[in-house]
Amino acid sequence: MPKKSSSPKDRYFIDFPKRIRAIQAETAKSGIDVYLGTRLRTLSWTIGAFCPWRSYVVIPRRGLPIAFTFVIDAARVADDSWLGQDQVMGYGPMGDQDQITLLANSIGSHLKGGKGVVGIESGMATYLPEGNITLYEYECLKAALPKARFQNAYDIIDQLSLIKDEGTINRFREASRIVDIGHREVYKAIVDGGYKGMTETEIAGLAAYAMRKAGSEWEWSFTGGNEIACGYRTGYAAGACTPATRKLLKAGEPLTVDLHAMFMLGLGDHAHNYLLGPATKRQKWHAKNFVDLVKLCLTKYRAGTSPSGLADELLDFSEERGFAEYMVPGFEHGIGLMGDEWRIGLNDGPFAYWTNPEHEYQANEMIICAIQYSCPDEKIGFRYENPILIKKSGCEVMSKFPLAIEEI
């Protein structure tokens, strides 16, 4: 199992130096002398290593970037990253070794006479670990570099990371293959009454074990790892977030199994649903609605489709079939290497830092198809998630676990 890929012949190869050169070309065009990346998505995309602690990447106009992370994790990040030990520094609570001093020195070394433009990443996100620069960091750096001008420049990374390269796509494919292994293990465990006595956390754990055995680095989602819901928890109003609880699985109830695996920062994310038999006619009606809607949705993705156009078509279909009130009216979210979750496309919509509903998909963009059906009054709901690679005239659905809602 490769930890990092440095050979262009490797199917998981990512040309990180090329990415850095692309950032440098864009910063030059924008008159930025040095770029300070703080967002998790930026760190994954430039360093190629998972950075769970507050970390920074300083990208000068020329040459290699320098990453800074908490000292207890610096050697490991250097080992995992393409950058190596000389370019990954640790910070800690010691004289001149705190993060602000190290960053100010590093950034300052690229500013002639302390003058110049520093690109920063500021904004807001629905995703808690987004990692925009904090007010405190910003104010401290401004005080330490009084002649420098700070310019919000996060859109450089967002633009460059929008279209996925082959190595990234293959990492997502592998993460999806691993997620399917998790789903098969869950199915084996719960079928033929095997679910009796099991809890949501147990389902999450057995899936995690199977996926780890297959090479998953972790159940990456910040929403509680593997999200498992049974009974009324599947159908929270407008809900699509269910960290597993100690709730027991029960006959006659729905079950949602939403698994997450990570492979070299590529993300697997697939949700599958069951009816724990005996299922009522009404439950089966809900299940058929949902499966038919997902099937329809998957035929629609292609370059040129927009989230809003897709939502119109799918909501019209659900209205015709009489289940529109159970649909959460959004059908996908953005995705990229670890830390790049939620917003689709660029920050160019009517609401700042949210998906532009009129964004037109391009070939080799990736999204997570994310469909939530919620009927709290009847204590039932379903979720579908699957990484989608947009193609010129269609899409690739990465998780291959068969689409169905089985009564078991």
Partner: protein
Amino acid sequence: MAVKKFKYLSPEWAEEVFKRANGRLTPEKMKHVTSSMLTLNKNCPDGKDRAVYYEIVDGVVRKVSIAEGKLPNAEFTITADYQLFAKISRAELKARRALMSGKMKLKGPLVKALRLSPLVDRLNEVISTIPTEF
């Protein structure tokens, strides 16, 4: 015979909305919902702001009235330009799309609003059948 047209946002138009809503929207279709909604049309052709007040009890449309000046309280208040509401009333634009574009504002609990939005679409569909003069 010429079809009678109702002037948009007139008391007669509101009465027609009430009649058609009760004729076409069953409590089952309206999911037995109980709620109230105010659609505030800004910049009407006469320069005024004018609102439509809807009261729904157990899935039955109980009241449709036009309000000006001091507006009644409602669970949801939806505000947009007159022209935008006119487009929705002619079924040229869906309320959800208008909300997502930021051109229409919603005050009220969002979780409940998301659940009710297909019901509002159904009401708008009924409104779009009324021969209306804008």
